[in-house]
Symmetry: C2
Subunit: 216 residues, 2 copies
DNA sequence: TAAAATATTTAGACTGATCTAAATTTATTA
DNA sequence: TAATAAATTTAGATCAGTCTAAATATTTTA
């Protein structure tokens, strides 16, 4: 098996790839709060194991075995988050750090049984899709609230930012996963948005509108 | 916090202390499948942190902070084992290795919530006591079946050996935790024991009789 | 109680993961 | 396109945990 550290690198590369295709040394260093020199060392090791495609100075992509490992870590992370929220009554802003540890527990049998126990959930507490036992998953079509025009409606289905502060704020104003919303008005000047949520009007900033994702 | 490795050393020292008081370098090395020289290195580090009392060549004991950590690891190990058996339908011979990983998840909040979720179990699947949130626990009075005379009765309440082979054997002959047993006859020659279990007579070897613990 | 056996520690080396500082390559921009 | 800036890699060090082989201490036993 691979070390914790290798798993964290593969996961970071996977997440970064979703936005940018090929991933740079500095991106990885920033995302793992480490130094570029350390990243280079690890990239050599992962390339040696054929988990990434790496050419000096050119950035990296995951190989298919590398991607498989990354997805299995993400599956574990999201299933554990679901467990913590649904069974142990954690709040959605409290689960990430614990899941960062739990995702490295190696037993595949354990995670598949946990999945059974919870009835094969499709999305984690933050709306992110949970890969199935074979690594397959489908994301729903998400767009930020800021992409809606006045009078358009949607269902809160995900977040673009996972910081506890942002999640706590959303909880406080009841903008939680599954809520139906309707855009009432968009302020031309600062792009803040007034929404109808559960028959109540609330105003959110452009920043929030950019980071809160909806379907439909 | 402490590393994975430090936690394993403290736990090993704790378990060994229960039998022998002060624990030797070689005992620790055997129990962790490592070499005496590595143990000496780690003992120096743990002594430096004041988690053990260590004088060269004289063996070690845990300090009170060291014991507290050891007990917290054991609490986590046993609660996770209980969870795996009761909620995820693992067999009692399948849980140990997974629990060896799970016991190092650091969140105290997590383990206390898991404890709540399961209704504060007092014993793990092998009959071992689960320390409570403050580290307190009481063992019931256990003795091996081999300590019983003919016609004496008891309730299966623990095992002295945790190997999958032994646990599978016990499961097969239904000598599981909670079963009432009665000694019918003890063979003078090989000390094998004939028991009454659920209205059925079964014969167990001296070895099994020594490793299967009962109450009453 | 002195030799022999056993247990333990020390010395020195290796691996994985990390760092800083210096060198090199690639990208930007004047 | 040549100079400058930014990104990346290399060199060399450190730390935790481990090992083997050698040195030293303790225990056993004759
Ligand atoms: Mn998370
Ligand atoms: Mn999540
Ligand atoms: Mn166990
Ligand atoms: Mn157990």
């Amino acid at each position: 098996m691979n070390t914790f550290t290798e798993e964290n690198y593969l996961k970071a590369i996977y997440h970064l790839s979703l936005q940018s295709g090929s991933v740079s040394t500095n991106q990885i260093a920033a995302s793992l709060s480490t130094k570029a020199a350390s990243v280079t060392d690890m990239l050599k090791k992962l390339a040696e194991k054929e988990l990434i495609n790496y050419t000096k100075y050119q950035g990296v992509t995951l190989t298919s075995p590398g991607e498989k490992i990354a997805i299995s870590i993400i599956r574990k992370h999201r299933l554990w988050e679901y467990f913590l929220v649904e069974k142990l009554n954690f709040k959605w802003d409290e689960v990430h750090d614990v899941a960062e540890e739990l995702e490295h527990i190696s037993s595949k049998d354990l995670i598949d049984r946990l999945d059974d126990f919870m009835g094969h959930p499709k999305y984690d507490p933050h709306g992110d899709p949970i890969p199935d036992s074979s690594g397959k998953f489908k994301t729903h079509e998400l767009k930020p609230i800021s992409a809606l025009a006045a009078n358009e409606i949607g269902v809160v289905s995900g977040v673009r930012e996972h910081s506890p502060a942002f999640l706590q704020y959303l909880e406080k104003v009841q903008l939680i996963i599954g809520r139906k919303i309707k855009v009432i008005e968009i302020n031309d000047y600062d792009h803040s948005v007034i929404l109808l949520v559960e028959d109540k009007k609330i105003q959110i900033s452009r920043e929030v509108a950019n980071n809160l994702l909806i379907t439909r």
